[in-house]
Structure formats: structure tokens, C-alpha cells
């Protein structure tokens, strides 16, 4: 298939509630009532997963964005929008937005008043001087690029490879417990990337396309798709399917909204998912509910898997998971008998020490029930899918000798090689101890790690501030991480101020591909492509000779073309495209580079007995690890009697972002911890009261919501809270460590392959406090409500 077919304009599917007066069929840019309307398909910033929801940006003749509306031409979002893009104007023109480069003397780190505006040239000069000094003394490996999540910059590997030339691009969440373990599991087991549920997103006509079959049973496992739009999946597609008749199984320690609509909700103890998955495999195999043909012709190691799962009879899993055994039987049978059926596996899979095994049992379930690469089941990306972002410029930009110095490569090749990232926990040790070598310079790529993506954030804070001689922040707003540790601030463009692309699932499973169009200019900002290109040329001109403009670099990286941006200009007019989808590709040689039938694994089959796991020194078959912090340790439970789970999302915020957007903050003014009514009664906590939570690793305060969404053993706490309305200087640092649930989470408890962390299955204790830290919404409105 030629690439031109990839980027064809998507067919519109009109919503029944949409009026007959609408903008269906309008071009990418048009005039309306004296305003210029630009249709675009945003990624970031503001931070979001790459969903690429359709947007119409209305700009007046002064070049100001006056209105944002959902674009009816997007076949998946169809005009619908979540509150964060609806409030985009309030983000762009927020009085706290930073629009110019700034510098600060390193001895003034942590002083919010010590920043001084500079030109881009001056900022680049300072960076160049420090870069040359530090790399001469310590080598390029002494530079760490802190990766983030969601934003384009957060996963922008060329910052590491081509701009700074360091092997140490590093996402700092312990065990990379976010998405990549799941990607690694399916890559190692089935030789493909993300197996998304087939929600007809790529089919012209969507749900009514002839090739599509409505999913009979959707398993939502450790995931809150409605709020999170996980990895580029439009969350409310679940609602679209439910309204057409899809039935749900929800596996989650929390009773989320979807769980109350499910035929079966398995409210398992946090962190026991792998046991649950093994019990499902046990039932499906022992009751002969599996797809014999698929297992016989396309799977490897079924006998061994069948034997292994005998170790996890449903009765045992029921005890481990604290779920009635008959519910486990009913759910496994419902999933196995529904045709087609699909699993949406969420972040919770990664956030446990046996996260890779959780991923493994999930892939095994998809495979033996015959739901891989079938309509309405799991769509599999073929050989043409994705783009090699993490590998782009790696050889040339880093070089062979430096590659070997990537921190953690020797110990955890299964982790470091698949994502070309330094190992998170070992990076923390390197920052703290200088072992294996000193880390002296840092760059935040779309990341606010001290508020969101790091465990024991004070430890990271201290290590970074102490170890780094020079650090750069690139963002739209000031945040605690940059305030604490940076010497240069660079201003970043938002989606309305930039060109670019957006591929769902970061490209490993592209359903729609979208294009961003620049509608406005604000301040002196740059995009990630522009900064990487401009700064890269300044630091290392020899790496960048092949590109004449940042746009060429973007076109090469994202579209695999080198046509001076003309190809981008051509296809981007389509705004949103459905990437052609095909089923049963493994039968036709479309899953392998060699064009042969089968999967891209050593055996050519889905490896239920994993040769890759075996080679990396892990058990080739799935096993369950009892959470280290939990009932397995009764002594610990005496001091910390509640199971702590964290991280469920809200529509108001993308992780640590959006706290300055008054309309969004109004939806969720305070950090909320959910506590069961019985527990609240026992501890004397009233609804709305502030409580202190503590674990062996640290403490924080949040505001109690007394609710049955959690059971009596479980506490759920919101994450990524800081308070931009407060004093930014140290030690307050925008209140960063006051309500930071990551204070309670550890580093260094990952699995055998280096992946996974117990971030959703810790323990804690809790008590009411007499103080109130309630957000004053009048202050938020006063400080951030008046747009500039």
C-alpha cells in the first residue's frame, strides 16, 4: 500500500444530534463571519495523549484566538470535545503563561523571583557554553534528558539522540511503569506493538462499515478510558459501543462509572491482576473454551501454558484477589464465549512488580480466544505501522561507543533496548551517587517529574538539584521541577501555534493520523521540532547538515519523506485521516518484514512460552508475584492497614497540567482521596475533611471524599497535585510536596526485566487533620481568570 493511501481525507460520520447547519465538508481553513477558521487535529501542548480530536480554531483579524469548537469532520470525535480543549483559549492567554526565554543564576535555583528575560540567542549562547564545558569534562553521557508522558515533547527521543547526543533519554517513573511494559510484552510475545480494541476508528463509516463486527464483550481492565483517553484512544468510544449493545466486564479495585454499568465487575485487591488473568486462562483452557485452530496453528507453547495455569485454580485466585469465585468463572466464560471480544488493558497492568507478567497473561488471553487481528477484537499493527521515533538519529547522533554507556543497558537490556531509554531507577542512583558516572546536565522534555512521574519525588528533587550543574526547562508554564532545578527556561508553543502530526497510540497502533495547523502566534515560542533543530544545530552542527529547516526534520521523522515540507503541506490539508485497517494479516505475511505468514517472533507464532522472556532471564511462562507491600506482610499491615492505589484520572486535568485553568480547576478544586464510609466512620473522618496519609516512604495530605467507590481495605488518592497559585520559591515550591501522593511510593521495586513498579498497590495509614487546605476559587479566578 502506498503512503498516499495512508493519508487520505477521512470520511465524515455525522452525529444525529448535530444540526443541519454545520461545518461538514469545510476545507482546512475558511472564513466565517469575519473570522478565520483553522481546522486542526491537536496533540500537545496542553498535554494529552495523541487522540487528535477535531478542533476548529476561530481567529479574528487581530490574530487572536476567540473561540474553539469541536470539528464535526473528525470521524472519531465527530465534533465532541473534552473540557481541556474547550478551555484551550484560557490556557493560551493565561496570565501565568510564559512567552519569553529566561535565565537564572544557578545559585538562585528555587527562587521564583530571580528569573531574568533574555533573547533566544542569549539563551542558546549560555546553553552552548555550558554544554561544551560539561561534555568536555564529563562526556555527553553526563547529560540526562527527562522524558515525560503524553506530550509530544515527552517522548521526543531526538532531544537525546540528535540534539544533545546522549544515550540517556530517561522517563523517570520507576520501572517505566507506564505503557512501555505493555508494549514490551506484546512485542516480545507476538512481535507486534499495541493491540488496541477495534472500535471501528479506522473504518470509513465507522460502526456501520460492512467489515466491522460489534464487540460483544469488552473487558476494561485496570483502565479508566472515559477520563484518560489512553494513549490516543478516544475514551467515549466505549459509550458509543455500549449504546450499540456492547456489554462490559470491568476489572478494577475501584467502582468507576463504567463498573456500575458492567455485567460483571471484578473488584479485585489492587495489584493482584496477574493472578486473575492466570485464573481466566485456567478456566478457559480447562473448560475447553479456547480457539483450537488459532492455538494449534498460530500459537507456541500452549501445553506449557496449560500446565502452568494449573497452579492458579480460580478458587486460589478468588482468595488472592478477594473476589467471589463464581464471578471469576462467570467473567472468564463470558469473555471466552463472546465473539468478538476485546480487552482494554490499562496503566494498572504496568504498575506492579509483575507488570510484565500481567501483560503476558493479557496477550495470552487475547491469543487463545482467537481475538487477535479480528474485526471487533484487537487490531494489530502490521509491518508498515508506526515510526521509528526512539531510533531516529540514534546511530548517528549518539554513536556506537556512547550507546553502550546507556545507564542500565547491561543490567536491563529488555527495558533499555526496546525503548532506547536509560533505566529510571538506576538513573536516580547515578544522580545520587555518580555511579557509574556523574550526571551533570539536564533537560526537561515535556515533563514535570517532581509533581507527577517520579516516585519519592523529594529524593529526585534533591538528587537533581545536587548533581546537575546546569539544567534547562522547556514549557508553556512554570512548574515545580523547573522552578527547583533549572537555570534556563525556554517557552513552548501550544497546539494552536504550531504545525505537526498526531498518530494515535504514539504510532504503534495508528487508527487515525491527524495534522496540526498553525492558527496564531503568541510571544516568542518554539515547538519541540524547532527547538530540537535550532538548538541541535547550535550544539552539534555536524548532526544536522541534512536538514535545511525544522519542518524538513519534522517531515522526515513523522512522515518518512524529504520533500522540503511540501509533502506535509499537501497531506496536512486533510486534517484527519483514517489509516487503512486490515484483519488476519498474519495469514498473509503482513506482520513480518520478510513477508512470510505468521508473527514476527523467533517461532513465527504467538509465544505463550516466550523465547524472549527466557533469553532475557525471566520465566518464559506467566507467574504471579504477591505485592510486596500488602497482606503478605502482616507486620507491615499492622502499621499501614490500608491498600493505597493512586492515579485514576479526571477530565479536568492532564496529569500535573491545567491547575491554572480556572474553569477546569472549578471541576476539581482540591486533591481528592476516596475513602469507604465504614473506614471514615472508624477513623472519624467526615466528607470533605482533610486527611494525612503516610506509608513507609513518605506522607501527604488530601481532601476526603467518603464514597463506596472503594472498598473497606482500599484508599484511592489523586496524583500530580501542585498549586500554581501559591508561592513558587523553595521550600514551598508551589506546595509541590504537600499533596503529592508520590511521596508515599518507592523506587527500586521493579520486576526481573527492569519493568513494572508497585505504584497502584502500596499500603498506607490515614488520619483526619484539623487544618483545611481548601482551594480558594476566588483566588484562582482572580489570579488566572483574566486572560491576557
Amino acid at each position: 500500500m502506498s503512503e498516499d493511501e495512508f493519508y487520505k481525507k477521512a470520511e465524515v460520520v455525522k452525529l444525529d444530534t448535530l444540526s443541519d447547519v454545520n461545518d461538514i465538508g469545510k476545507p482546512w481553513r475558511y472564513e466565517e463571519d469575519g473570522l478565520t477558521v483553522t481546522r486542526t487535529s491537536p496533540w500537545s501542548p496542553p498535554g494529552c495523549h495523541p487522540v487528535g480530536c477535531g478542533l476548529k480554531l476561530y481567529v479574528n483579524d487581530e490574530g487572536r484566538l476567540v473561540k474553539v469548537e469541536g470539528d464535526e469532520n473528525n470521524p472519531v470525535t465527530q465534533g465532541r470535545l473534552c473540557p481541556r480543549c474547550i478551555a484551550l483559549k484560557d490556557y493560551i492567554y493565561n496570565p501565568a503563561r510564559l512567552l519569553h526565554p529566561m535565565k537564572r543564576d544557578p545559585k538562585d535555583r528555587g527562587n521564583a523571583d530571580a528569573w531574568e528575560q533574555v533573547t533566544w540567542d542569549e539563551a542558546f549562547d549560555i546553553i552552548k557554553k555550558e554544554y561544551d564545558r560539561i561534555t568536555a569534562a564529563y562526556g555527553r553521557e553526563s547529560i540526562v534528558v527527562f522524558a515525560g508522558t503524553g506530550r509530544e515533547g515527552g517522548t521526543f527521543a531526538p532531544y537525546g539522540t540528535m540534539c544533545f547526543g546522549t544515550p540517556n533519554f530517561c522517563y523517570t517513573q520507576s520501572g517505566y511503569a507506564c505503557y512501555t511494559p505493555r508494549l514490551a510484552a506484546i512485542a516480545y510475545i507476538a512481535g507486534t506493538t499495541y493491540p488496541e480494541w477495534d472500535y471501528a476508528g479506522a473504518l470509513p463509516g465507522r460502526w456501520d462499515d460492512d467489515r466491522y463486527e460489534l464487540t460483544e464483550c469488552l473487558v476494561v481492565w485496570g483502565k479508566a478510558p472515559l477520563e484518560s483517553n489512553p494513549d490516543g484512544f478516544f475514551g467515549h468510544a466505549v459509550i458509543d459501543a455500549m449504546r450499540r449493545g456492547t456489554r462490559l466486564i470491568v476489572i478494577d479495585p475501584r467502582v468507576n462509572w463504567l463498573a456500575t454499568r458492567a455485567d460483571i465487575h471484578l473488584q479485585l485487591r489492587a495489584g493482584t491482576d496477574t493472578a486473575m488473568g492466570m485464573a481466566w486462562l485456567n478456566i478457559i483452557i480447562n473448560e475447553d473454551l479456547y480457539d483450537h485452530d488459532f492455538v494449534e496453528y498460530w500459537c507456541y507453547g500452549f501445553e506449557q501454558l496449560a500446565e502452568r495455569v494449573q497452579e492458579m485454580p480460580p478458587e486460589k485466585a478468588a482468595e488472592i484477589c478477594d473476589v467471589p469465585v463464581e464471578k471469576i468463572y462467570a467473567a472468564a466464560r463470558m469473555y471466552a464465549q463472546a465473539k468478538p471480544a476485546a480487552i482494554q488493558w490499562g496503566l494498572a497492568a504496568d504498575q506492579k512488580t509483575d507488570g510484565m507478567q500481567n501483560g503476558q497473561v493479557t496477550v495470552d488471553l487475547m491469543a487463545i480466544t482467537g481475538n487477535l487481528d479480528v474485526p471487533g477484537g484487537q487490531i494489530l499493527p502490521g509491518t508498515g505501522a508506526g515510526h521509528n521515533e526512539s531510533g531516529f538519529g540514534f546511530e548517528k547522533g549518539v554513536g556506537e561507543d556512547l550507546q553502550k554507556k546507556m545507564i542500565g543497558l547491561d543490567q536491563y537490556p529488555a527495558y533499555c533496548m526496546i525503548i532506547l531509554n536509560a533505566h529510571a531507577d538506576l538513573m536516580l542512583h547515578a544522580l545520587e551517587t555518580g555511579d557509574p558516572y556523574p550526571i551533570k546536565m539536564g533537560f526537561y522534555a515535556g515533563n514535570n517529574l517532581m509533581s507527577c512521574t517520579s516516585m519519592e519525588p523529594k529524593r529526585w528533587h534533591d538528587a537533581i538539584v545536587k548533581s546537575l550543574e546546569f539544567c534547562i526547562g522547556f514549557d508553556t508554564f512554570m512548574n515545580p521541577s523547573i522552578e527547583a532545578s533549572c537555570d534556563i527556561f525556554l517557552p513552548l508553543s501550544t497546539v494552536a501555534e504550531r504545525e505537526g502530526t498526531v498518530f494515535t497510540h504514539y504510532a504503534p497502533c495508528t487508527v487515525t493520523a491527524g495534522f496540526m495547523h498553525k492558527a496564531i502566534e503568541v510571544g516568542e515560542t518554539m515547538t519541540d521540532f524547532e527547538l530540537c533543530y535550532e538548538l541541535g544545530r547550535r550544539l552539534r552542527p555536524e548532526v544536522w547538515e541534512e536538514f535545511d529547516t525544522a519542518k524538513e526534520f519534522m517531515e522526515a521523522l513523522r512522515l518518512g519523506r524529504r520533500e522540503q515540507g511540501k509533502y506535509f503541506d499537501e497531506v496536512s490539508k486533510n486534517v484527519v485521516c483514517q489509516i487503512p485497517v486490515d484483519y488476519y494479516k498474519y495469514e498473509r505475511g503482513e506482520m513480518r518484514q520478510d513477508g512470510q505468514p505468521g508473527f514476527a517472533t523467533p517461532t513465527g507464532r504467538v509465544e505463550l512460552w516466550s523465547t524472549a522472556f527466557n533469553q532475557f532471564g525471566d520465566d518464559p511462562l506467566p507467574y504471579f508475584l504477591e505485592p510486596e507491600f500488602g497482606p503478605a506482610n502482616p507486620e507491615l499491615m499492622k502499621e499501614y492497614p490500608y491498600i493505597l492505589t493512586t492515579g485514576a484520572r479526571t477530565t479536568a486535568f492532564f496529569h500535573s497540567e491545567h491547575r491554572q485553568i480556572a474553569y477546569l480547576r472549578e471541576l476539581n478544586p482540591d486533591p481528592i482521596v476516596e475513602i469507604n464510609p465504614k473506614v471514615a466512620k472508624d477513623l472519624g473522618i467526615t466528607d470533605g475533611q482533610w486527611v494525612r496519609m503516610w506509608s513507609p516512604f513518605g506522607e501527604c495530605v488530601e481532601k476526603a471524599r467518603i464514597t463506596e467507590t472503594v472498598d473497606e481495605k482500599t484508599i484511592h488518592a489523586q496524583h500530580a497535585w501542585w498549586f500554581p497559585e501559591e508561592d513558587g520559591s523553595e521550600p514551598n515550591l508551589y506546595g509541590n510536596f504537600r499533596s503529592n501522593i508520590n511521596n508515599l511510593l518507592p523506587n527500586d521495586h521493579y520486576g526481573k526485566l527492569g519493568f513494572g513498579a508497585p505504584n497502584k498497590c502500596l499500603v498506607c495509614n490515614i488520619e483526619p487533620v484539623s487544618e483545611s487546605y481548601d482551594t480558594d476559587m476566588d483566588l484562582i479566578w482572580e489570579k488566572f481568570g483574566k486572560l491576557v
Binding site: T17, K67, L226
Partner: protein, 164 residues
């Protein structure tokens, strides 16, 4: 003229907040004010298996059904952006038929700023009865604490004061 309203299929309201935020953007309502707000009931358990948990997007006294938009033939902003696509705008008569089609819906007709909608107070100026011109004779007595006309608790003779 037909009355317009919103039909809301609350079976699928997920409390995403899009309706409220888009309403505020459209009307530039400050923090604390909105034309639509999501109320909730639950979660509470109906029995061991089942939950009651419903969200209800309800229209406030600041909902004008996006008069400017609807005048141009477009639907109100909350209808446009609702992530679950559960809000329908139309004449009540048509919406009532849809209401009949499935359970867990409600139909709502808002009134924008209802006190203001009543308009300024304007005295009618109509006076139906003119005071009659009839001569009156005095009783000469002031009574007090009289609960029943046949129970005389006290009486003051005012005849002298009146100087008759």
C-alpha cells in the same frame, strides 16, 4: 412558536464536564456561574450486585439554549461538545416523541434569568373601585383586646375626648 428544550439521555452521562465548560466559554460566565451543571446521585448499592449511580446535566437559570447559535440554525454548545452525545436540542413536541422511545431520559425547558424574564415591574394603572361618598357616624368608644365581638374585654369611652 414552538417551545424548544433539551432531551437528555442520562443513562450515559459520565460527568466529563464538557457541557459546563463549553457553556461558560460560550457565555463567558465566571467561576461559580454556569448555564448547565452536572448533578449526581450515587454511587450507592441497590443490592449486592447492582449500583445506583447517575449523573444529571441540568439547566440553570443562566441557560439561554445558546440563543445566538440556535438563531443561526446551529445546536447549543453543550449539545455539540457532549462526549457521550446524549443531549438533543429541538421542539418539545419532537423531543417528547423521543422521550417515549427509551427510559432514563428527561426533557428540560429552561428559562433564562426567570426574574428578569418577567420584566420590570409595571403598575397596571387599573383601578376598579372608586371610594363611595357616604356620611359616617362615630361609635364614641375605642375597644381593645377584643377577640370576639360578643366578648367585651375592655372599652374606653372616648365621648369626652371627641368633644361631642
Amino acid at each position: 412558536m414552538a417551545t424548544y428544550g433539551l432531551l437528555i439521555d442520562y443513562e450515559y452521562c459520565t460527568n466529563c464536564g464538557s457541557c459546563q465548560v463549553t457553556c461558560k466559554e460560550e457565555h463567558a460566565y465566571p467561576v461559580g456561574k454556569t448555564g448547565i451543571k452536572v448533578l449526581s446521585d450515587g454511587p450507592w448499592k441497590i443490592d449486592d450486585e447492582h449500583w445506583n449511580w447517575n449523573y444529571f446535566p441540568v439547566l440553570t437559570d443562566l441557560c439561554d439554549l445558546c440563543a445566538t447559535r440556535t438563531a443561526g440554525g446551529r445546536e447549543p454548545m453543550c449539545v455539540h461538545h457532549c462526549l457521550s452525545n446524549i443531549i438533543t436540542y429541538g421542539p418539545v413536541e419532537e423531543l417528547a416523541k423521543k422521550l417515549d422511545e427509551k427510559p432514563k431520559q428527561f426533557l428540560m425547558v429552561p428559562q433564562f434569568n426567570p426574574i428578569a424574564a418577567k420584566g420590570e415591574f409595571v403598575p397596571s394603572g387599573k383601578q376598579k373601585h372608586r371610594a363611595a361618598h357616604i356620611e359616617v357616624q362615630g361609635t364614641g368608644k375605642a375597644s381593645y383586646a377584643v377577640h370576639r365581638h360578643d366578648t367585651k374585654v375592655g372599652e374606653i369611652d372616648e365621648t369626652d375626648e371627641l368633644g361631642e
